[in-house]
């Protein structure tokens, strides 16, 4: 077995994936650093799932280069044995019950923690003996979440893992993820459209839109990077000047614009000019940057 080299967990250069005339991933270049929680954000159909399928060797790139633990993931057991990929649409063998999944998972994940899995089964009230086919959408999602957490793979992908889970169960997922990650650091890529819910969990954010990586930034710096200014249209426009405007709304004589990167002095100036300053959440920022309607991100699990 080949040794796994240290350094970036994932390195992607010029990655493109086409399905016929559709370009699902378009010349993506980025790295994923070890022991970090990444958010892979974007609207439905932006290319999140395709990107993760490529990173896990489940799909084949049209062009470009992917290194996971320094090697190509395609058909590479040395890489893939450290990878856990939990999909929203994960299919389970027809006749399986939850207990069969939990029984077989340790054969594939060397770091599997059975006690942790058992605790999670309690947390999510998962019926072990029910056939998966007869389970609710949320229960099926819970199985995936449990496998993803208890496998403790060095690289774990969660692709919209909580379809059908209610708010309480989702919070349980976030809490367990955070606590277990703190004790057993590993690299986690969380793909979701419920950005507000996970915003504080993330250390780094990748935003994908129409197959292109449009934001690749530290979550902390991204969070404070945009501000919405509200005031009379003339005051707003006077202040904004030639700045790049992410978003603009107007009602009557009032205007609301979202701009990037205000310095402390500029904030004081804006306030002095009679403008209201409001912070922009990560979710709003992504919405503005991907030209999406709010609605699309509120279609909750």
């Amino acid at each position: 077995m080949t040794a796994i080299i240290e350094g970036s967990v994932i390195e992607v250069r010029g990655l493109t994936k086409r399905f016929g005339t559709v370009t699902a991933v378009d010349d993506a270049t980025f790295t994923v650093e070890e022991n970090t929680i990444y958010g892979l954000l974007g609207r439905n159909g932006a290319g999140k799932t395709t990107l993760m399928q490529l990173l896990t060797g489940q799909d084949f790139a049209t062009s470009g280069d992917i290194r996971v633990f320094g090697q190509s993931p395609v058909e590479n057991a040395a890489v893939l044995q450290h990878v856990s990929f939990i999909k929203e649409s994960q299919r389970y063998p027809e006749d399986f019950r939850a207990k069969h999944v939990l029984k077989s998972a340790p054969w594939f994940f060397e770091n599997w923690d059975a006690d942790f899995a058992a605790q999670l089964v309690d947390d999510f009230r998962l019926p072990l003996n029910r056939r998966i086919k007869k389970m609710s959408r949320g229960q099926v999602s819970a199985i995936g979440v449990i496998v993803g957490l208890a496998s403790r793979a060095r690289l774990t992908f969660f692709d919209e893992p909580y379809l059908g889970l209610d708010a309480v169960a989702r919070q349980t997922f976030y809490d367990r993820l955070l606590a277990d990650y703190a004790e057993h650091p590993r690299t986690v890529v969380l793909s979701t459209h419920l950005i507000d819910e996970v915003s504080n969990l993330l250390e780094h954010v990748l935003v994908i839109d129409e197959g292109r990586i449009i934001i690749d930034q530290d979550a902390e710096s991204l969070r404070g990077s945009a501000t919405t200014l509200v005031g009379t249209a003339s005051a707003v426009d006077g202040f904004v000047g030639a700045r790049e405007v992410l978003h603009r709304d107007a009602i009557g004589g009032l205007a609301s614009v979202t701009v990037l990167g205000l310095t402390a002095q500029e904030r004081t100036d804006a306030a002095a000019a009679g403008l209201e300053l409001a912070p922009v959440s990560l979710q709003q920022l992504v919405i503005h940057r991907t030209n999406t309607s709010e609605k699309e991100f509120e279609v909750s699990a």
């Binding site: 970090t36 809490d175 955070l178 703190a182 504080n200 969990l201 404070g224 912070p279």
Partner: protein, 118 residues
């Protein structure tokens, strides 16, 4: 946690508040990075950043292999720092808002006195 300021700054302020109010006494151990992360539901890296900020300021110090402790004199130092910032953070915005709706400084002072008595 609000959205306007970085999370690690907010965490640092929370800990400062607890030191100023005496909830976290000097020379006592404070929760670990992971405990802060779990309690405030934030990424441990963010929690580390907030705590590191306080270590750099001298409010907390590290005991190797044991954990993080509140430094001696931290309460007094933080209180002084807060007093210095009080004017810019609270008085200036108060005056700006008052001026916007036509309240003079004298009227404002009266209002403060009345509110303090009640």
């Amino acid at each position: 946690m609000d959205e306007s300021r970085p999370l690690f700054v907010q965490l640092a302020e929370q800990i400062e508040n607890d030191i100023i109010s005496g909830v976290m006494a000097e020379e006592t151990q404070v929760p670990s990075i992971n405990e802060f992360a779990a309690f405030y539901r934030i990424n441990p890296a963010t929690a580390l950043k907030g705590v590191t900020m306080l270590v750099d300021e001298g409010a907390l110090y590290k005991k190797r292999g044991i954990g993080m402790f509140v430094a001696e004199g931290a309460q007094a130092r933080l209180t002084t720092k807060r007093r210095d910032k009080f004017s810019t953070e609270f008085v200036t915005p108060l005056l700006t808002e008052a001026a916007k709706i036509g309240i003079t400084s004298e009227q404002l002072a009266d209002m403060i006195r009345k509110a303090a008595k009640a």
